[in-house]
Amino acid sequence: MIRVQREVFETGVEIETMTSGRTDIGAVVSFTGLVRDFNEGTTVSKLTLEHYPGMTEKQLEKIEREANERWDLQGSMIIHRYGVMELGEPIVLVITASAHRQDAFEAASFLMDWLKTKAPFWKQEEDAHGQSGWVSERREDIDALDRWEKK
């Protein structure tokens, strides 16, 4: 399941929704990305996320499908916010559920690496002086994705 939304979400509520009433899930991994006050050497006071409505949903659905093909998952969820966000607020959530912990860990890590380089979102950061700038692509994110290339 994927959701692209302006509103804040709660990681705990989403985990509860995925696992509630189920007795076949052995392992749940969640990743929550938060707005932090410091990025690549700059103080951040506010973050705005622009996205490409339509393509975003398509890409997230494709990523989620790919993870479900590669790993044995009993549930998966991606939530990504857009719009203006304050420090400490959540930006992105990935949850994976599986019978075994290794599948859940790897699939969650894969989803985040993939999303970071393929999902059409762009961050604009504002510093303490109200100066805003577009965040640059990180070399580490491209390298991280290479790990998942099928040999």
Binding site: G33, L49, E50, H51, Y52, G54, M55, K58, H80, I91, V92, M112, L115, K116, T117, K118, A119, P120, F121, W122, K123, Q124, W134, V135, S136, E137, R138, D141
Partner: protein
């Protein structure tokens, strides 16, 4: 065709979307980009380094020249930085 610009391409061009017809001059993504470069200094600058411009046609990434027809949605944007 609908053309979309995102992030710093949008702010540099001062425009998020425009409608363009296909023509003898503009009929695939290569010819569209070539034509874009001729539209003035802002466009020339934005399309000067194609290493930092991603192209999507009908909401799918493309990495090689792709034919275009009226009704297509073409988007230009920088490498993504979400997550």
């Amino acid at each position: 065709m609908t053309i979309l610009y995102f992030a710093w391409l949008r702010t540099k061009l001062g425009m998020s979307t425009e409608d363009l017809p296909c023509s003898d001059e503009v009929f695939d993504t290569d010819s569209l980009v070539a034509w874009m470069k001729t539209r003035g200094p802002a466009f020339a600058e934005v399309f000067s380094d194609l290493e930092v411009v991603r192209i999507a046609v009908n909401q799918e990434y493309i990495t090689s020249n792709t034919p275009l027809k009226d009704g297509d949605e073409v988007a230009f944007f920088p490498p993504v930085t979400g997550g």
